[in-house]
């Protein structure tokens, strides 16, 4: 199930398991630092093995995959964009992933500016002049693609790591 060789996805939501049952004492949440420990050690090894560009691509792909699964398993609104945004914002807050705010939504041209404050991945990291939330870029891309059926260019334009207080993503439909 988890360790089979594969050329295409074998991921299923139930692979996440019954956490409630499995951790009756420790519960379903843990420290964010532990999540980051995994994020950045994995990134470290991927860069060593494949280089920065490949590592970024892997992160983006994984994020996009997660976005799609997230959409089909946790989001109910599948038609009205404004309601979708509303629900997404609530779910992201409830799961403590981040505080999503829409700065701009041009539905006609499918152009968005989305801000994630207190982002799980990067808020509080040392400032390095880098935008490092590649996983989030993929994640948003997967969500938007699932909702609209169109492909999106998602780019993190501001990040905690680049000196901002929030992560800001510009998303635009690919022509």
């Amino acid at each position: 199930m988890f360790k089979e060789e594969r050329k295409e996805t074998r991921f299923e939501w139930n692979m996440l398991g019954d956490i409630q049952a499995g951790r009756p004492n420790l519960g379903t949440t843990m420290d964010v630092a532990v999540y980051r420990l995994m994020q950045f050690t994995l990134r470290d090894v991927l860069i060593q093995k494949y280089g920065v560009k490949e590592a970024d691509e892997i992160y983006f792909m994984a994020g996009e995959h997660a976005g799609k699964e997230f959409f089909s398993n946790l989001i109910k609104e599948k038609t009205d964009f404004n309601k979708f945004v509303l629900e997404l914002k609530e779910v992201l807050e409830k799961l403590r992933i981040g505080i999503m705010r829409i700065e701009k939504a041009d539905l006609e041209n499918m152009k968005f500016t989305i801000v994630i404050a207190e982002d799980l991945d990067c808020s509080g990291l040392p400032v390095t002049d880098e935008e490092i939330c590649t996983y989030d870029e993929g994640f948003l891309s997967g969500l938007l693609r699932s909702f609209t059926g169109a492909e999106f260019d998602v780019k993190e334009v501001d990040c905690w790591c680049s000196g901002d207080r929030v992560c800001r993503f510009s998303a635009e439909r690919k022509d």
């Binding site: 470290d44 705010r101 207190e118 390095t128 000196g163």
Partner: protein
């Protein structure tokens, strides 16, 4: 870490030194001048670095001041544009806390603008979270808007409902008006609020009376009596309408109708005599089964009359003139289940029906008048 975290790449990295250093007064003055301009709200200018200035702590200080001047200037432009409400302005890259704070403020304002737009298009579920006092004030406003909107929607629905009732009632009253008034008159009254009396030259008038009504009515229960008359007159109405005739009124057991007004009708006499004939036939048929056998006496006369609305609150369309009196006399001179017509009417329809000449008969207040029984309806 994940990528190479680059060092702070300001143009010159801060290098603390030791010992003493001599600086030119001019350079110190330029630095003081720059700080002075910051405090006085003046525009800052980059300090020109003399070519011969050695690469020491003084040069480092001037370079730092210049970096500050550049960031400060672009930050000022940004702040100024935001103060004017231009939320589209691209914020400058700067790590200064003030610049970062204003960038956050811009982000919050942009988000507020977005949520406001959503709310203004009726999406009241949108809320602002984790934005301090903003959130509470804004969400409260949104909730109140939602409540107010729902209240208005509710009122609108009630209003619509009330409107529908009024429309239905209006239709009902118009229909009622039509029952009381001839169509042409009802339309005139509806459109202009009044209807002038009008002379009609060629009209036939029908009068009928139930034979022995007074005697019968004293023996019958009133409710049954009304139900009987209602049944009979409803059929009379149908027959009249079918033949383009119009009932004017009923008075007790008397039934008054006309043809040739308010719409002109060349065949007024024919239509009315034909109706009379059908009425007699109908009653004969009815009497075969009904318990109470009604007999009718009919008189018809043709001539001129005046029609108009009488009354202000209760509209009654009525007709006036000697023609009606004569028609009434024709009826009183008629016999049970017979149709008695005047000579005028006879002349108009003698080719269409069979008549029996009754000769001249004395009519109260009118002298002698020639009358005819229509043969068709004269069987008992």
């Amino acid at each position: 870490m994940n990528k190479d975290f680059k060092e702070d790449n300001a143009s010159s990295s801060f290098q603390p030194g030791t010992g003493e250093l001599v600086a030119k007064i001019e350079i110190i003055d330029r630095i003081t001048g720059t700080i002075h301009n910051v405090l006085k709200g003046k525009k800052l200018e980059v300090i020109e670095i003399p070519a011969d200035l050695p690469d020491n702590e003084i040069r480092q200080l001037v370079e730092y001041v210049n970096n500050f001047v550049k960031e400060y200037n672009s930050f000022s432009d940004f702040m100024y544009s935001m103060a004017r409400g231009e939320l589209d302005y691209s914020p400058p890259k700067s790590s200064m806390v003030v610049a970062q704070s204003f960038k956050s403020l811009q982000s919050s304002l942009r988000h507020l603008a977005y949520v406001t737009q959503r709310i203004s298009s009726g999406d009241f579920e949108h809320k602002v979270s984790f934005m301090g006092d903003f959130s509470e004030a804004f969400n409260k406003m949104a909730q109140q808007l939602k409540d107010a909107f729902e209240k208005i929607e509710k009122q609108n629905a009630e209003l619509k409902n009330a409107n529908e009732i009024i429309t239905a009632e209006k239709e009902k009253s118009e229909k009622l008006l039509l029952n009381v008034l001839p169509l042409k008159v009802a339309v005139e009254l509806k459109e202009s609020g009044k209807s002038e009396p009008q002379l009609f030259e060629n009209v036939s008038v029908f009068f009928s009376d139930m034979v022995g009504f007074t005697a019968l009515s004293s023996n019958l229960e009133p409710r049954l009596l009304i139900s009987e008359l209602n049944d009979i007159f409803t059929r009379f109405d149908e027959i009249m309408e079918k033949n383009s005739c119009e009932r004017i009124k009923t008075i007790g057991d008397a039934y008054l109708s006309v043809c040739g007004m308010p719409m002109k009708n060349e065949a007024h006499a024919y239509n009315l005599v034909a109706s009379a004939s059908e009425i007699v036939k109908y009653l004969n048929q009815r009497n075969e089964k009904a318990e109470i056998k009604w007999k009718v006496r009919i008189g018809i006369h043709s001539g001129a009359l005046v029609g108009g609305i009488v009354g202000v609150k209760k509209y009654i369309y009525d007709i006036f003139g000697d023609t009606i009196n004569t028609a009434s006399r024709m009826e009183s001179c008629s016999e049970p289940m017979k149709i008695n017509v005047s000579e005028t009417t006879y002349d108009l329809v003698k080719d269409k029906f069979h008549f029996v000449d009754r000769g001249e008969i004395e009519v109260k207040g009118k002298g002698r008048m020639r009358m005819y029984f229509m043969e068709d309806g004269a069987h008992e």
